[in-house]
Amino acid sequence: MSIAIVMVLVVAGSILFHVLSPWRMTPIASNWGFIDDTMGLTFLVTGAGFVAVILFMAYCLYRFRHEPGRRAAYEPENQKLEAWLGIVTTIAVVVLLAPGLLVWGQFITVPKDAIEIEAVGVQWSWSFRLAGLDHQLGSSDVRYIDTTNSLGLSPADPKGQDDLLVTSGELHVPLGKPIKMLLRSVDVLHDFYVPEIRAKMDLVPGIVTYFWFTPTKIGEYEILCAAYCGTGHPQMRGKLIIESEADFEAWQTAQQTFEQSRKSAASQDKRASAQ
């Protein structure tokens, strides 16, 4: 008996918690509002199901609790009812799935004009690479990694010489331009995760993975790692700065190219050996 009341309270408490909870999705800063919409739809459909099932159960518990003289009905099955319930559930699942798959279709279709930016994960920091004047990223491989080439760019690839290297962990992107993030790890699994962008993807050593998004809100956002990568995992942070195209251009010109970084590293080496 008391359990029937508690079931109703559990439902009421859950709804109340949902309404009053201060812990909500971060304000979105990318084009992936559709993801939020699909999640909202999922909440409505599943929430209605949860409330209906538990309240029906609570009613049964109250109405059909044991009392002296009560005897249960005998009804092994009711195929009509079972078929109807199956159909209704299938429709609900299709309602959830169809928009989800449509949005997923967009998610995996990268716009042709997207700017390619590479994020490189290493225990436990982020580096980035942007295409230089030739708008192409050079090839890379972990075997090229040494003290003067921390991202492992192919030294012989002419396309890579003008690539811009960002090792400060701070990535700037222009507002309103689709961006294809190419993801590469030199050691273990990482995951490029900015809650406000919604999209995320693992970095897998040995292959290059990707996802795309269009920044829609100027601001400074935190980059976290969302794939456990060892004891320093929570400290693997970076910054994503969404800014106007002019600011982005200015930032870009201030970055060092691969060629420049090799030269300055080489001269530092010489100075060190001269001393």
Partner: protein, 588 residues
């Protein structure tokens, strides 16, 4: 009862062997230690699983203390935190839940419920337990080696799991992999037993469609486990070779902390496929026995046949089959080909249909029932709430695009704890309260049982329901400290403290259960053979607790399904499966 009044289809089939050759124990050692009686093996399995489960419970306190009070607890650092997370997860999923449902309840209930004298291979059954025990000891021994247990996370994803940046690199990871390999060897011996016993050792009249749903759930889970565990087995062997011999199954060329490793050409994602090919069926390996048991608890204590029995059986089979082709939903953002997302989202959401039908049928069983609010019933009802709650959040994570923002956040942690942590554990408690009288001959204390239920059910809900919202906010899992993070408000830390306090309280409250469990052995009210007035076969044994061989001289003969409750015209509100048929009875 072979007179002409018995309808043809209810007449007993011709008598078969009355006894089978069993190895009857001659000494204390063969009766209680190296025992071949499935009922003793069941207690051994359950005892070991619960013991190691208590270790996992304590580890969860370490996790919760660190999350609530980061840096304030002197003995918890990053290493200890990640080791605790790893061991808690692996113990609970494999060594506790899988072992107690299949090794524990499977061993005790299958022979009794199908009317067999024992498992078909008693000696192999005994070996199964001892190999499981060794596997468990190997796992726990990693606390006593230099470097301690592995802190790779329970998923053991390479390259991280076998590199030096992970705690337990020296020995912990090796012991973990060896232990899993042993566990699978042990499980395979038990699993073959469960499957063959259900198929071959049913008593006369016990057709497949007269099996209690408990047996159906355990049977389907055992079949799935026999198909899924080999995936984990080969993954463990290959990872072990990568770690010890330097092969490169899962290891690409990489530079770790400035040092170039010798690995070349392996695929980390291959490991994830193998792991989740096991890992997702594993969820249902735990869930299906729970589904079966909860069906029986609800039916017995609501004095009503389970609604839609045939649908329930087909739903179990459909879930079992579908669950073998949904593993990729754990890998939507793993970097696998994104086109797989379409396939796995469709299969994953398709599973929701048979699962929802099961939920409807449980609830519809309560319609026009005669509900007794016993402790087992309360736990079954608690399961329904937590399972429905955890099941619907699965629709978020299965729907590929919705998973993208939520994956790797606390939403996932809350979801799987609700659906495959709390829900099955509530069933385990309910099942223990329910079958304890058969196992010991005494009742557990109802008042203590109800106190235990209320604290556990409401406490667990209060722990995991709010946790979803931290995930919606975007808080990642596997962070041993959040640090300063712009999007996380101070209130999130407050919520973490509240959750931790409730978790500690719920954890300690389990002592009420253990007090009840042990006290009732001696002081519990005598139960008699069938205290719940249940219809299924295990309650009809000539002795309680049942002796070796279960049935005395004659095997029972089954005339009907196990859900003959409140049958019109029957003298009582239940008809045991082996009671002679009533005149004009049309039970399934």
């Amino acid at each position: 009862m072979t007179d002409a009044s018995v309808p043809q289809n209810l007449a007993p089939p011709p008598a078969e062997v009355e006894d089978v050759e069993l190895y009857h124990a001659h000494s204390w050692i063969t009766k209680y230690v190296f025992c071949q009686d499935a009922k003793v093996i069941a207690i051994q399995y359950a005892g070991t699983a619960i013991t190691v489960g208590i270790l996992a419970l304590v580890l969860s306190w370490v996790i919760r203390l660190q999350l609530a009070f980061p840096g304030a607890i002197p003995f918890i650092d990053a290493n200890v935190y990640y080791q605790s997370v790893t061991m808690h997860g692996m113990i609970m999923v494999v060594y506790m839940l899988t072992a107690i449902f299949l090794g524990g309840f499977g061993n005790y209930l299958i022979p009794l419920m199908v009317g067999a004298r024992d498992m078909v291979f008693p000696y192999v059954n005994m070996l199964s337990y001892w190999v499981y025990l060794i596997a468990t000891l190997v796992l726990v021994s990693s606390y006593f080696v230099p470097g301690g247990p592995t802190g790779a996370g329970w998923t053991l994803y390479p390259p991280q799991s076998i590199l030096t940046g992970t705690p337990g690199y020296d020995y912990g990871i090796i012991l973990m992999l060896v232990s899993l390999i042993l566990f699978i060897v042990g499980f395979t011996m038990g699993g073959l037993n469960y499957v063959v016993t259900v198929l071959q050792a049913r008593t006369r009249g016990m057709t497949l469609m007269r099996l209690p749903l408990t047996v159906w759930g355990i049977f389907a889970a055992a079949v799935m486990a026999l198909l899924a565990f080999p995936g984990l087995f080969v993954a463990c062997v290959m990872l072990l070779l990568d770690r010890i011999l330097g092969t490169s199954f899962f290891m690409p060329s990489l530079v770790e902390l400035g040092e170039r490793k010798d690995y070349v050409g392996g695929s980390p994602i291959l490991f994830q496929h193998l792991f989740w090919f096991f890992g997702h069926p594993e969820v249902y390996i735990v869930a299906l026995p729970a589904f079966g048991i909860v069906s029986d608890l609800i039916s017995v204590h609501a004095r009503k046949n389970i609604f839609g029995y045939r649908m329930m059986v087909w739903a179990i089979i459909a879930i079992g089959v579908l669950s073998m082709v949904v593993w990729g939903h754990h890998m939507y953002v793993s970097g696998m080909d994104p086109w797989f997302g379409f396939f796995f989202a469709v299969t994953t959401l398709a599973i929701a249909v048979p699962t929802a039908l099961k939920v409807y049928n449980w609830v519809l069983t309560l319609w026009h029932a005669d509900i007794h609010f016993t402790t087992p019933m309360l736990f079954a009802l608690g399961f329904l709430v937590t399972f429905v709650n955890g099941g619907i959040t699965g629709l978020y994570l299965g729907n590929v695009i919705v998973d993208v923002p939520l994956s790797a956040t606390l939403f996932v942690v809350a979801h799987f704890h609700m659906v495959m942590g709390i829900a099955p554990v509530l069933v385990i408690f309910g099942a223990i309260y329910h079958w304890y009288p058969k196992i010991t001959g005494r009742m557990m204390d109802e008042r203590l049982g109800k106190i235990h239920f209320w604290i556990t059910f409401l406490g667990a809900y209060a722990i995991f329901f709010p946790m979803h919202y931290l995930g919606v906010l975007g808080m990642p899992r596997r962070f041993y400290e959040m640090g300063d993070t712009a999007f996380v408000p101070a209130s999130a830390a407050t919520l973490n403290i509240v959750i931790t306090i409730i978790a500690l309280a719920v954890g300690f409250a389990q002592s009420i259960f253990f007090y009840n469990l042990f006290r009732s052995l001696k002081y519990g009210a005598p139960a008699g053979g069938n205290p719940w007035r249940a219809a299924s076969l295990e309650w009809q044994t000539p002795e309680t607790p049942p002796g070796h061989g279960n049935w005395g001289k004659h095997l029972p003969v089954v005339y009907r399904w196990p859900y003959a409750y409140s049958v019109p015209g029957a003298p009582e509100d239940f008809l045991p499966q082996d009671a002679p048929p009533l005149r004009g009875e049309h039970s399934p």
